[in-house]
Structure formats: structure tokens, C-alpha cells
Symmetry: C2
């Protein structure tokens, strides 16, 4: 399997790419459903260029929120250093939910990261780290898997906006954490 030796991309291509990401970041921030066409317009770029760099909306989302997601992933080992494994897991899921609630775009990006089955994205790796630490400490059930927990966790900030939403998310998280505990009856 030869690693294809890509030559360095042209400088204008890099600049366009950066401008697209910047424009998309702003657009997604105040309207998660912003159209790719509008983003191309804001970035002063032809539609074709948009497509060359990002073949679909999901690719753009992951590129735009790449840094945010990386920060979130990096938080896992830090939390693990300061808290008991199960507690670190709870706090990390809290941060995930907060991120998802913050901007519509980020929540879409996390959803995209969950769906991406090809390579494990950093988020899945981070959650894996937390779960494994919990298993070794006999605090987390041995059959828990990252993708499942991520799927459950991504429901924490969905359907937000209702009247009872501040407590709701907290209670849901309690259910998830207690469900992941090792040694529950039956």
C-alpha cells in the first residue's frame, strides 16, 4: 500500500479553502441550515470550487468543526487525570452535550462524526479511552462500546427548547451513567 506522494497544493487553492471554512463557520453559527450556495457566495468563490474542496455538506461540517472536536477529544485524558473514571465519563458527556447545544452546526458535526463509520474519529477514540479506564477500574460494564454510548449521548441535547429542558438533560445523563455502571442487578 504505497502512500501516494501528493504534491503541495497551489496557494490559491489553500486560500480558497480557508475562506470557505471561515465563511461556513460564521454561516453555521447563526443558521445551521445555511445553504452551501450562500456560503460559496459569502466566501467569494464559485460553486464548483466549493465542490472540489468539500464533496458534500458533511465533509464541510467536519472540516469546520475539526478544531472544536479536537479540543473536546483532548479533554478526555485531562478529566481522567483529575477524577474517578465514571465521574470523568459523566463530565465529558456533559461537555459533549454543551457543545451540541451551543451552536446548531456543532451538533450537526457531532452527529456526522457519529455516523462516520470509516475511520474512528477522535471523538470515538476519546470516549473509548474513558470507557476503558472505567472498565479497568471495574466501574463500567465490560460490554459498553463507544459508538453506542455516543449515540445515547447525542440524544442529550436533542429536542431542546421545551419548558423542562434544564433538568431533563441532567436526568437523562443520570440514566445513562447508571446504566453503564458495572454490576447492575440481573
Amino acid at each position: 500500500m504505497m502512500r501516494t506522494p501528493r504534491r503541495a497544493p497551489r496557494s490559491d487553492a489553500l486560500e480558497n479553502r480557508a475562506r470557505i471554512i471561515e465563511a461556513a463557520h460564521a454561516a453555521f453559527a447563526d443558521a445551521p441550515s445555511a445553504s452551501l450556495q450562500a456560503i460559496a457566495r459569502a466566501a467569494c468563490v464559485g460553486q464548483g470550487t466549493m465542490y472540489r474542496h468539500f464533496p458534500d455538506r458533511e465533509a464541510l461540517l467536519l472540516a469546520v468543526y475539526r478544531d472544536e472536536l479536537a479540543v473536546l477529544a483532548a479533554a478526555a485524558p485531562l478529566l481522567l487525570h483529575e477524577h474517578e473514571p465514571l465521574d470523568a465519563l459523566r463530565r465529558w458527556l456533559e461537555r459533549l452535550a454543551a457543545e451540541g447545544r451551543l451552536t446548531g452546526g456543532a451538533s450537526q458535526a457531532v452527529a456526522a462524526a457519529t455516523r462516520a463509520g470509516r475511520h474512528h474519529p477522535p471523538i470515538v477514540a476519546a470516549l473509548d479511552l474513558l470507557l476503558n479506564a472505567g472498565k479497568e477500574a471495574r466501574q463500567v460494564r465490560p460490554d459498553a462500546e463507544a459508538e453506542e454510548v455516543l449515540l445515547l449521548g447525542s440524544s442529550l441535547w436533542r429536542g431542546d427548547g421545551g419548558p423542562s429542558c434544564p433538568d431533563r438533560s441532567r436526568r437523562m445523563l443520570t440514566v445513562i451513567i447508571d446504566g453503564l455502571r458495572a454490576g447492575t442487578p440481573h
Copy 2:
């Protein structure tokens, strides 16, 4: 609060409504993203008529899957009659997940039912029944609420299609049920 005495709708309106629902049912079955325009075409109905009957996609979805959702809701008391409360709850969530997996349209309808904050739809009432029975039997934690559990449950069939999905759903359900148990530590 006077109950406005609506006069009976015209017969052609009723027929159109029925034809739209029928066409939509078929369309959603093999493509959850079917366009309203295509459905209107298949139902031999102008676009305006579509809008008169169903102001948006969500309204159409709920109308199309009204019967399926009612059947699902009606299953709750039956399950409760044949099984222990917590077991009935688990089986009902299994059925919910199966329904969501079956056709893309149904899963959208359940999602819509979850979002609909206005009146409690039958699904929420059914889940309420199960949870209350569980609480009285001291099997379910007293602070569990239907909308939250529905939100968690609706993640059971999301992200399906991956390689490990048959077991995954089962394990996720186990986490939810164990998390809902009364008397978990801490």
C-alpha cells in the same frame, strides 16, 4: 372556550385528503425524503391542495403514520398485563425501535411525535403508563419522565446500517433499562 362547530367538510376534500395520505404512505415507504411535490403529483392533486390539508411535512407525517402510532400506543397496556412493569417497558421500547427501523417514514413520524410539545401524543401517554406502573412497583426510579425516555429510546435505531448494529441496539436498550431501575447506587 366555545368548541367551534365546524361544518362537515366537502366530500371531494375528504377524497383528496385520503388520496394524499395513501400516496404519501407509498412514497415514504421506499424513500423517506420523498418530496411533497412528487407526492402531490402521485395523488393527482395540485400543490395548493397539499398545503391546505397539511401545512408542512411534519403534519403529513403524523397523519400518515397516525394508525401505526396508535397501534404501538395500544400495545402498552397489553404488555403491562402480561409482564412485570420493567419487562413490559423493555419490550415496548423494543417494538418502538423495530417500528423506527422498519421504514424511514415511521422513524421520522416518531421523531416528530417526540418533538410535538403541544398536546401529549398517544405515544407519550403510553410510555407514561408504563413508567407509572414501574414506579408503583418500585422497579423504576421515581424521577423518570416519558419525554426523556422517548428521547433516549429514539436513539436505538439511529445510525443503523453499521456492521455491529444487531447487537448494538440490544446493548443500548440494556443500558437504558438498567439506568431506569429504581435503587441504583449513589
